[in-house]
Symmetry: C2
């Protein structure tokens, strides 16, 4: 497999599939009590009576778990130079206790920096799937990466 | 202060300022080891040698802490009906150990649902500031909320 660390290592259409992770009710409750105190994330009885019909994980937990899986691919290190971002994040379905999720990623744009020839931006689409094959979250993320020449000079 | 729970409670230009929170080096390391294993988030020595010149928090930690502060405003409950999203998230400056951050929010668009008169989407801009007044993260988020009439009928 081609190394995919620096900006010039990436090609349009490159695809990556992460490992998967299963989330428990306890993990959903712990995360929500710290970071997202909406009742349908923190209180099982209230969630059962909500229109969700049961406890659902915070969308930010879906996001965190998805990027934890992505970073474990070890793609963008050590070339990442920060300043990145996310566009078009949509939570399409709830994360529920017992769900097993993974992420499928595709390179959809490659933009050399206009001002700095030693770096460029890789835009990837990330889709997070549950065990039923449903996309529960989709987004585009930007990684600002050094080029091989830029890394060699730094 | 006007109650701001349902879609029809919001007006363009409404602004909210959250409480603040201070992040420690220990919190940065713990978060990163679970969710964002890039070296400049997990290893103090490696971070000192990186172009960041020291440990920085994961952008996802900035995001989580910012929304934890937002949800504590108790604005959008219990009218939130899910399916929301985020556009244009950009991490502008690093989160560093000892930083104290807060979020300033403004309603920038209100879109009644074309298909369901019982709900609408509130678009807010969120800017996260550090103690020096620098914006370290900016984004637009979407909240799909019930109307008062929709909530009364459900």
């Amino acid at each position: 497999m081609r190394a995919t660390t620096y900006f010039d290592d990436y090609a349009l259409g490159d695809r990556y599939v992460t490992d998967s992770v299963t989330v428990t009710e306890g993990q959903i409750l712990r995360f929500a009590r710290e970071y997202d105190t909406q009742l349908f994330h923190t209180n099982v009885a209230a969630a059962d009576e909500s229109h969700f019909g049961g406890l659902i994980g915070s969308g930010f937990q879906t996001l965190n778990l998805s990027f934890a899986l992505f970073f474990k691919l070890q793609l963008v290190q050590p070339a990442a130079v920060g300043g990145a971002g996310i566009d078009g994040l949509r939570w399409r379905k709830p994360l529920r206790p017992g769900d097993t999720i993974h992420v499928e990623c595709e390179v959809i744009d490659l933009v050399p920096s206009a001002s700095r020839p030693d770096r460029g931006t890789v835009r990837m689409r990330h889709d997070t799937f549950n065990q039923d094959g449903d996309v529960i979250m989709t987004l585009e993320c930007l990684h600002i990466l050094q080029t091989r020449a830029g890394a060699a000079a730094s």
